[in-house]
Amino acid sequence: MTEDEMNYVLNLKDLDKKAISVVGGKNASLGEMIKAGIHVPPGFAVTTDCYLKFISETGIDDKIYETLKDVQPEDVSSLDRASERIKACIQEGSISGDIREAIEYGYLGLCRACAVADVPVAVRSSATAEDLPTASFAGQQDTYLWIQGVYNVISHVQSCWASLFTPRAIAYRIKNQFPHEKVFISVGVQKMVNSRTAGVLFTLNPTNGDPSKVVIEGSWGLGETVVSGSVNPDRFVVDKVIMEASVKEISAKHIECVFDVKEGRVINANVDPKRQCTCCLQDEEIRELVKIAKHIEKHYGCPMDIEWAIDADLGFPESIFIVQARPETVWSRRKAESVIGKKSGYDLLMEQAMKRIRIPQ
């Protein structure tokens, strides 16, 4: 492999937040977490260099800038047309030997490491301007689940590249004056978690900002149902310090996102009625998730929004994976104001002594 090719693909475990410009926020964050000892599914990043090499050697770059030059964000049909055109170019553009080799090298390495031939992977875009606390692009690029084989991986890397040019993404950049040529894309290829249960968690209570709580939402199957809001997840509110759950809400989780072998893709399957109302997490899993959440929050030094999954094939606690982590944006932006004020123990005692508790009739 040439030196260039080596720069096209980087193992996630060799990354950290300094790599953000070449692997994007999502990949850099995953690398950062691996370094911090967090259990993250193994994988590799297809770098922005690789993307740049692809668009430049195919001449697609010129076509892109040409096409986007006169597009107005309010003009929906011109936006759509431009998007379609660019996406087709990228999707159909022929991949040169060295890029192909680099991705193949990354994927086969992953198969070896996992000891599985054609290991199923998740292919996700990781944009360089994404996931910054002040400019959340989250969800603007695509994710492809359960992809197997080198050919499919490469084709979905191209799909991710193309996802940089959805009408929404184009419009967003124009509105926010992000130059298109400054927004590069990296792609993450990560071993698929055979997810029994998955979901999101926050390292504070998003409803009231209580910093002593971890709020976990989870459902059966892959986390997509929770993220997209297509099921009412089970909800747990756990105290970070004493590790006790103050809320355990079990909802009827009617569907789950699973890989369908026959169809060869991920589908939303019905959950049988009995399992719908069964709690999707064991107590020990909840506790472990809280521990991990605290670790991640401490590592980043700010409240975090985290995606997690529990592998059906692995034993606890190896079964628990973190698949994504980003700074929480709502409460973090608020200015910290004193809740109690400047008060002595006696002030507080006097206040309490004067108190009456109303019992509404």
Partner: protein, 619 residues
């Protein structure tokens, strides 16, 4: 009752108790009865069943503790420390059960006056707490010793002893001593209960203040987390158990002692056996040293004469010691590491402090925390000395009177003395004294009192089978009284739950009850309902205890049970504290657990959420 509107409980004056309880009123002093002359006031108040202090129908003499706390608790709030908007707690009896009421705030001008006094008096206590505590303990121990020293005549001699007549006549004799001794005990009991609340109201107030500060900083924080921050490890209430642990350790280091202790003999037989060898005697010696005060712990709450104490139910401590010796021999560790508990608490507090965002809040938190920590030990320590040690001495003395009354033919059994209230006993004693003084062959009214005692026992037995209504009267608009909030956990939700319970068709239909999540964890298993505290001997390892309240003297039992559920008790109730100490899941303050759950039901106790599910009913 079923027709009651959902927003109020029955009017106490119209409330009818079952026929079997007829005549219950005569057991208690008249001011304990709902009465027409106070009717207007009484029916406007909210009266709820006090299962903490009166989990069982009240034997007439045991009412003395309630009488004493009604006065003492209330006076510290209203007249001594003057918690501005709070008034006292009033008591009434209905069908043998006690109902209490936190009285509504006084007029505004009184609140103002009290606020001034509060500032002056209360802060002094916090500033001088350690010194005041030392003084408190010293004077309390003196009082207990004084009570122990009261001589109860064991006999009425045919003629007074010579030395009481010449050369220096005492001038007053057993007929006087008899009545004087009882009066003295009553007075000492009242004094002990005056001391009991000396700093307790302030402790509870400080706790509520701290809890409020913490809740502002961490809106969703659980009561059990707050409890963990303030609770201490070196608490008198845990000493009896520690003493047992060290006795068990001593046994394993002596020759032949463990084998005797592990045998299936009674405590009495074991003691006789131990007394035969030097090592055995050495061990007994140590046991006797620990006995006063630590084994004066009640087998129950300390509130009822029939609960017994370790000192008069030696099979209980000997049973625990047997278990500890066996565990030691298996190489298990039996002591709880108290240093670790303290360290853990400090670590927990530090972690919460670390989550506070501003310096100002961190300072306020520390101020609040130091205030509660200064005084919290009082809440944990007074309990052993008053309800356990002091009450045990009292029961022992009263039983001496019982023996005398049996001898005098006034009552059948020693414990029948508890069937008469503290105003009636002087009447019995006076009759005995009079009979003695009048000479020989004087007829006495023994059959009258014996019949009375029997009738009262019947009423109390019937009352045990009756399930009293949780509350009477009108739910209040506001509560300011710290004990009501803290100890009984009276909140809007609680009242609503009770109102719901009023209309519940039958107990068997309920499959889930709610209470405070007072100790974390989840456990499922067969329930053992212990409505009477002495039923504890029925408990089998792996069962879940369901009881009106739990008690720290059951401590060694907590290593055998899966979980605990109680009717009454907030998160800082004794039950909650012990369960957390032992890592046993618990749900406290359900209001109805002992009514709804039956022994043998399979229940699931979720100490994280405060829900108890009846998974499967016993056949």
């Amino acid at each position: 009752m079923a027709e009651e509107k959902a927003d109020r409980f029955p009017d106490p004056h119209d409330f009818k108790v079952p026929k079997e309880l007829e005549g219950w009123e005569e057991m208690y002093p008249s001011h304990y009865l709902f009465s027409k002359d106070r009717g207007e006031w009484e029916k406007q108040q909210f009266w709820y069943l006090d299962k903490i202090h009166a989990p069982e129908p009240m034997p007439p003499l045991d009412l003395i503790f309630q009488e004493a706390w009604q006065i003492s608790l209330s006076q510290y709030t209203t007249r001594v420390f003057c918690i501005p908007p709070a008034q006292g707690i009033a008591q009434r009896m209905v069908g043998g059960y006690m109902y209490i009421c936190a009285i509504a705030p006084p007029p505004e001008e009184v609140i103002k006056e009290k606020a001034e006094l509060f500032g002056k008096r209360v802060f002094y206590v916090f500033d001088h707490y350690d010194e005041l505590w030392d003084k408190w303990l010293t004077k309390f121990k003196v009082l207990g010793k004084e009570m122990a020293a009261v001589v109860v005549p064991s006999d009425l001699p045919k003629f007074v002893p010579e030395d009481q007549v010449i050369p220096a006549p005492t001038g007053c004799y057993v007929s006087y001593d008899l009545i004087a001794a009882f009066d003295k005990l009553v007075n000492q009991m009242f004094k002990g209960w005056q001391y009991h609340f000396e700093m307790l109201n302030l402790t509870y107030l400080a706790y509520l203040m701290f809890a409020d500060v913490v809740r502002k900083l961490f809106p969703g924080i659980s009561e059990s987390a707050i409890g963990k921050m303030v609770a201490g490890a070196y608490v008198s209430m845990f000493r009896p158990e520690e003493e047992l642990c060290s006795l068990a350790r001593l046994a394993t280091s002596l020759r032949g002692v463990s084998d005797i202790l592990k045998s299936d003999r009674t405590a009495k037989q074991k003691i006789a056996e131990l007394d035969k060898t030097p090592d055995g005697r050495q061990w007994l010696d140590q046991f006797n040293k620990a006995k006063d005060p630590w084994f004066f712990v009640s087998c129950g709450s300390g509130w009822l004469h029939y609960e017994g104490s370790w000192i008069n139910s030696p099979d209980i401590p000997y049973g625990y010691i047997k278990n500890y010796v066996e565990r030691l021999e298996k190489g298990e560790k039996i002591e709880r590491s108290l240093d670790n508990i303290d360290k853990q608490r400090d670590a927990i507090v530090a972690e919460y402090v670390g989550l506070i965002k501003t310096d100002e809040d961190r300072t306020a938190f520390n101020n609040a925390y130091n205030t509660i920590r200064t005084i919290y030990r009082y809440a944990e320590d007074h309990l052993f000395w008053v309800e356990h040690w002091f009450h045990t001495i009292w029961f022992d003395k009263i039983r001496n009177f019982g023996k005398l009354l049996v001898k005098a033919g006034m009552i059948e059994d020693v414990d029948d003395i508890f069937m008469f209230n503290r105003y009636e006993i002087p009447e019995l004693l006076t009759e005995v004294a009079t009979g003695w003084a009048l000479g020989v062959n004087i007829p006495m009214r023994g059959s009258y009192y014996k019949a009375k005692a029997q009738k009262r026992r019947k009423i109390l037995d019937a009352a045990k089978k009756w399930i009293p209504t949780p509350a009477l009267g009108v739910p209040p608009e506001e509560v300011a009284e710290p004990f009501t909030i803290m100890l009984w956990g009276i909140t809007t939700d609680k009242v609503k739950e009770w109102l719901k319970g009023m209309k519940a068709p039958t107990v068997g239909d309920i499959s889930e009850i709610k209470g405070f999540a007072s100790s974390a964890g989840v456990a499922e298993g067969p329930a053992r309902v212990l409505r009477l505290l002495k039923e504890i001997s029925n408990l089998k390892p792996g069962e879940i205890i369901v009881c009106p309240t739990t008690n720290p003297s059951w401590a060694p039992v907590f290593t055998q049970i899966k979980a605990a559920v109680t009717d009454i008790g907030g998160l800082t109730s004794h039950a909650a504290i012990v369960c957390r100490e032992y890592g046993v899941p618990s749900v406290t303050g359900t209001g109805v657990a002992t009514t709804v759950i039956k022994t043998g039901d399979i229940i699931r106790v979720d100490g994280d959420t405060g829900v108890v599910k009846i998974v499967k009913r016993a056949k």
